[in-house]
């Protein structure tokens, strides 16, 4: 299929190859590597500090570090580029204080560059790594760490040599999620004026009107991700996983004052840059520009957003659980297939996915209408592609990878012996799953649901294209205003999207205590 589409549009392809494609590919690779490295540093270290040290304010930081997740990437990108731009308030203030006249008078980092985009993306995406790594660290068998210490490892060494390798499956899942999110992203990177492979997909499809070439490029993108994911799985194949005896007595490293300061600053900078700063900006805007009428007008889109996100999260989590358990318990040689396939939805840019769904549901709808005609029933119209069914379906496909990753890594942490125990006691499969596996998996299920819900609330390109008439969501409203440089008017809606995204985080935090 790839080859066919390549040859059918070889003219356009060779044109792209000779002009912009090499730059796009280089940008894509650099962006991917930078974002993954930064999120790993941010996420893993903050998780380790929270779990293994006595850092001040641990109780708050523990969940504060999750908050950037509620921030839509395009919103944060818009705010940061606006603030740090040459014409933004920061540089304006500097010019005013120091009486600089033009850009030649001083040096200031250019936010609209590849590194700028990578840092900002990392600030919003690191909570994935943080959350999964923290869960892994907390659920680790502490006896292994103690054994390491008894064998003469320092606390640093025992973290690096024991805890970190044990948490690797979870961290790897998070890293691949971050990678996919980065590569599929268009809107965010667009604000930074960075052109990536996704730009090329959009250009070929919407600019040149060449769907085949766009498909080919999308396939290249997915191949890229496929290699990374497979390579990672290979690298950790054959590694046994620890038995899961949740140990409440996690040994905590006592930090000196200086260490406290540094580590505290590290965690607070993450919270501030990823959440507090943009949130405060939004609140200031809302105070200046909003009134009560705007708030009332926001009610219907909020309900719509919550509705589709709720369905999507519930279905995606349920499917992930089903496939995950099937893979674990079945002897079937194709048992890996559903999960591996489902994983790639996340790497497809939302607009491309929307097109694929329209192409799939369109003909189905036509068939349904013909059947109805034949049976002399009222024509049902576009039952699949013209209703929120399409939107929910798109969300499930796009975010299935998140639910799958989270639940699979949860399942992997259940020792194999658990599968066998009930059977030896004569309990049936269904009973075993409900009494044992699902309760053990409850934290993972909650995390998966939460992640899909929050992501669906923020999703923009797919819902924009697939929604039925008069179906506005919060993200669409914000986008309309942003695209006319009028975010101030939409600040209230943006705050609402963030707050709604926060609800499940807060609730989850309570639940787990």
């Amino acid at each position: 299929m790839l080859l066919a589409s390549l040859s059918s549009s070889s003219d356009l392809f060779s044109h792209l190859w000779q002009t912009v494609l090499p730059d796009y590919i280089t940008n894509t690779l650099i962006l991917g590597v930078l974002v993954v490295c930064l999120t790993l540093i941010f996420g893993t270290f903050s998780a380790a500090f929270i779990v293994h040290t006595n850092i001040v304010g641990k109780r708050f930081l523990r969940w504060l570090l999750l908050l950037p997740m509620a921030m839509p990437g395009y919103l944060v990108a818009y705010l940061y580029t606006d603030v740090f731009d040459y014409a933004g308030p920061v540089q304006r203030a500097l010019r005013y204080w120091f009486n600089w006249q033009s850009p030649n008078d001083y040096w200031f980092f250019d936010i609209r560059t590849l590194p700028g985009a990578a840092v900002i993306l990392a600030f919003v995406l690191f909570p994935y790594v943080y959350m999964l790594a923290r869960t892994a660290f907390e659920q680790q068998d502490q006896n292994l760490l103690r054994a390491g210490r008894l064998l003469g490892l320092s606390s640093k060494q025992s973290f690096l040599k024991v805890a970190l390798p044990l948490a690797r499956p979870a961290i790897a899942v998070a890293a691949s999620l971050v990678l996919m999110e980065t590569l599929a992203d268009f809107a965010t990177v667009n604000y930074f004026a960075v052109n990536t492979l996704t730009t090329a997909i959009y250009d070929t499809w919407l600019g040149y009107g060449d769907l085949a070439a766009a498909n080919a490029l999308a396939s290249i993108l997915m191949l890229l991700i496929f290699f990374v994911v497979v390579a990672e799985q290979r690298a950790r194949a054959g590694q046994g996983h620890q038995s899961n005896r949740p140990n409440k007595n996690i040994e905590v490293i006592k930090l000196s004052f200086i260490q406290q300061c540094f580590i505290g600053a590290f965690c607070w900078i993450l919270v501030f840059a990823g959440f507090l700063a943009p949130f405060i900006l939004l609140i200031i805007m809302a105070f200046e520009y909003s009134d009560l009428n705007q708030l009332i007008a926001l009610l219907p889109p909020s309900i719509n957003s919550i509705e589709v996100s709720f369905y999507a999260a519930t279905i995606a989590t349920f499917l992930a659980l089903l496939f995950g358990l099937y893979r674990r318990l079945s002897q079937d040689k194709w048992r890996m297939l559903p999960l591996s396939l489902a994983g790639f939805g996340y790497a497809i840019p939302g607009t491309v996915l929307a097109m694929v769904l329209l192409a799939t549901f369109g003909p189905l709808d036509h068939m349904l209408n013909e059947v109805a005609d034949y049976l002399r029933l009222d024509s049902p119209g576009l039952l699949l592609s013209g209703t929120i069914f399409a939107v929910v379906f798109a969300f499930v496909v796009r975010f299935a990878a998140i639910a799958n990753g989270t639940i699979s890594s949860g399942i992997e942490q259940i020792p194999r012996s658990v599968d066998l125990a009930p059977a030896s006691l004569g309990a049936g499969l269904g009973k075993m799953l409900i009494k044992i596996h699902i309760p053990i998996l409850k934290p993972s299920i909650l995390v998966a649901w939460l992640l899909v819900f929050v992501e669906s609330m923020k999703e923009l390109p797919a819902v924009l294209l697939l929604r039925p008439f008069n179906f506005e969501t919060l993200s669409i409203q914000i986008y309309q205003l942003i695209s006319d440089e009028m975010l101030e008017q939409g600040a209230l809606g943006a705050i609402l999207i963030v707050l709604l995204g926060l609800l499940p985080i807060v609730w989850l935090n309570k639940e787990r205590k």
Partner: protein
């Protein structure tokens, strides 16, 4: 499995409710469905007025990308009646893909000048907008041509949004029509060399950059000037620039249109025709002129006082079809010049 059955029930419930919702959509009367490339809040005042006059409810979906694809996939079951776009190339794309049907209503043919509608009556312009060159106030009013953007005296002093934005592609198309591909490529390369920064942001952002002295010259559509002047925050940006109509001593300023067409499989053709007739009526054209600060396509409706104060100008009379024809070529040249990189 109580949990699972619960979920299953939920899914079933959802599905049935979906069926109900969608069938009620199909059965309801006296409505008209619009697919719009323009932001909903820009067209809402017009639709409200229409509903007030006729009692016909207007349902809208707004999206900038993929509208034509959605329409094509929906085929004969598409609920769309009227399509609104912001760029001539989009209209011609819809026409080329055979997604429009003719509307021969005399009200349309009478008041819309022939260069602003399709020969087969499938699409019609509603407003025109100029691709202006904004310049810093201290430069005074400029007698400037688009060709001058390649002049090295503006080195490091020009700002623009992405070269691949529809408005810029249309401008490049008009350059190709005037000068041919080879010369246009050279122009693009020199233009790029003059940029103060990588193409970014939107037309308003460029004016902001002039206000902050990052550049002197930018490209921008006419109506942004008016809309910025009526925005609390952006007013100071707009006050820092002059709006210039390029190429006044030769072919005239590049003009694009926003327009409409009737969907090929429109289920409510009667209502669609009423809406289209309304959008071209004096009342609606005046609203376009006043609230959207665009040039009404009707000759007998005056632009707003503000727009009129910018003076009369000469518009390039290049046929709109030609602009659409060179679209792909323009995009290729923009890639070749690595304009955005």
């Amino acid at each position: 499995m109580p949990q699972i059955t619960k979920i299953r029930k939920k899914i079933l419930l959802t599905f049935t409710s979906l069926c109900l919702i969608s069938s009620s959509l199909v059965q309801a009367n006296e409505e008209v469905n619009v697919y719009s490339y323009r932001q909903a809040f820009l067209v809402k005042p017009l639709f409200d007025k229409f509903t007030e006059n006729t009692g016909i409810k207007v349902n809208v979906i707004f999206a900038k990308t993929g509208m034509a694809e959605r329409l094509e996939r929906e085929g004969k079951h598409s609920p769309a009646d009227v399509l609104l776009t912001t760029d001539i190339s989009r209209l011609i794309e819809l026409q080329d893909r055979n997604l429009l049907q003719a509307n021969d209503a005399e009200v349309l043919l009478d008041v819309i000048p022939s260069q602003y509608r399709a020969k087969d009556n499938t699409w019609f312009a509603l407003t025109t907008r100029v691709r202006n060159i904004y310049s810093a106030k201290r430069l005074g009013t400029l007698d400037i041509n688009y060709e001058d953007l390649a002049d090295s005296k503006y080195k490091g002093r020009i700002c623009t949004r992405s070269g691949k934005h529809a408005y810029n592609i249309a401008l490049v198309s008009s350059m190709i029509a005037e000068h041919g591909s080879a010369e246009t490529l050279v122009w693009l390369e020199k233009f790029k060399a003059n940029l103060a920064r990588k193409p970014q942001g939107n037309d308003r952002g460029q004016v902001q950059a002039i206000h902050q002295n990052l550049c002197d010259i930018s490209l921008g559509n006419s109506y942004y000037f008016g809309r910025m002047l009526s925005d609390e925050k952006q007013k100071v940006w707009a006050e820092a620039v002059n709006i210039n109509f390029p190429n006044q001593s030769n072919r005239g300023a590049h003009v694009n249109i926003s327009g409409m067409g009737m969907a090929k499989f429109s289920p409510n053709t009667g209502n669609a025709k009423q809406l289209m007739a309304f959008l071209i009526s004096k009342e609606a054209q005046q609203l376009y002129a006043e609230t959207n600060v665009e040039y009404p396509v009707r000759a007998d409706v005056m632009p707003s006082e503000l727009v009129a104060s910018w003076g009369k100008f000469k518009a390039d009379d290049l046929p709109l079809e030609t602009i659409a024809k060179y679209r792909k070529e323009a995009l290729k040249l923009i890639d070749q010049a690595k304009f955005d990189l």
